[in-house]
Symmetry: C2
Subunit: 207 residues, 2 copies
């Protein structure tokens, strides 16, 4: 065993930087974030940070990439267990809320990017999100055709689920303020999950 835990491998240092970068980009967006703040959070100098990531742009892209990989893995309705509408939609909502709970800063970085018009994400979304979504939309339409749920617009259904699950990450400060808590805990997420699942399943006419 190595008795010098102070020395980090290159990969460990990069991970520390990426974590700090996620925090700062989440708060201030790309333009508003200062790599100096990220360096300080990591315990490095700005110059040293630039040794690991050659530019702010590259660092930001890496942060975005990491989030999106996690995202898309759980994104697809098709990726859920089960094969009936109730089970799969329930699982989908739970999965989205889990991400909001465990990766709130990633969600905020994504939110900032979308608010800005997704300038650094547009092509990625077209290439990766849209194909997955089309499959999911087709599945919803099949369920509708089979009479297993009410005829609704699948796209607006997804917009609603995305918004109302991500809000527990992106707008957590407002929710905490309303609920009078300093931080959302697991119980809050369970209540959110119960509320959303019941409302959506019933609202879609799913038995």
């Amino acid at each position: 065993m190595n008795s010098k835990p102070k020395r980090l491998t290159r990969e460990q240092t990069e991970q520390k930087i990426l974590l700090a970068a996620e925090d700062v980009f989440a708060l201030y967006g790309f333009q508003g974030a200062a790599i100096n703040s990220i360096a300080e959070l990591t315990g490095l100098t700005k110059q040293n940070l630039l040794y690991y990531f050659p530019s702010k742009e590259v660092l930001y892209q890496k942060v975005l990439e990491n989030i999106l990989d996690l995202w898309l893995a759980k994104m697809a309705l098709f990726a859920q267990r089960g094969d009936d509408p109730k089970t799969m939609i329930t699982s989908y909502i739970q999965g989205k809320l889990d991400i909001s709970r465990t990766h709130p800063n990633g969600s905020k970085v994504f939110a900032n990017e979308i608010i800005q018009g997704a300038p650094r994400l547009r092509e990625y979304l077209i290439a990766h999100l849209l194909p997955l979504l089309e499959d999911d939309v087709a599945l919803i339409n099949l369920w509708i055709k089979q009479g297993r749920m009410d005829p609704v617009d699948p796209y607006h259904l997804f917009f609603m689920i995305w918004a109302s699950t991500q809000t527990y990450a992106d707008f957590s400060s407002q929710i905490e303020l309303v609920l009078g808590k300093s931080k959302l805990d697991e119980q809050d997420f369970e209540q959110a999950n119960a509320f959303l699942t019941n409302l959506i399943i019933k609202g879609l006419g799913i038995k």
Copy 2:
């Protein structure tokens, strides 16, 4: 009549600046926005802009204030016409979507501020939003007690309505991308309205 339309009154100039400021703050948040960009959009020099608003901070506060005044006027469930759950919630959803459609940039400025933890808004929200919301929550609880809707958590209901209506402003770029449109039109908002209203009314067990 004055034949020199070039000369603007002080108030008109201030309005032009505030409009441009809303655009830029919406895109980049407080830190990321440059008053130079705002000045250019307005056709002024940066120095001249600072003649009308003494600092970036003051300008931002003014922009926030304008949005919030509009916001809270339509915010209350109590402010809606009608007196039965179906009519009032329908009107509430419509009102929120109207704001997203007519003031997308205001919504984005608000979103950026909340993502940052609402540092410049916290006190205002506590003083003005919370009291209104408590009344609305009490109304929902009354309706539940009267058996006019299912027993749900009123807070999470409002979080859901806020998120799924504001998403059409804040995340419009993602929605436009998915729907293959360059800009959301009135028809899109009508479809969103129909979808959300049906889902929520039915999901809450309101007849």
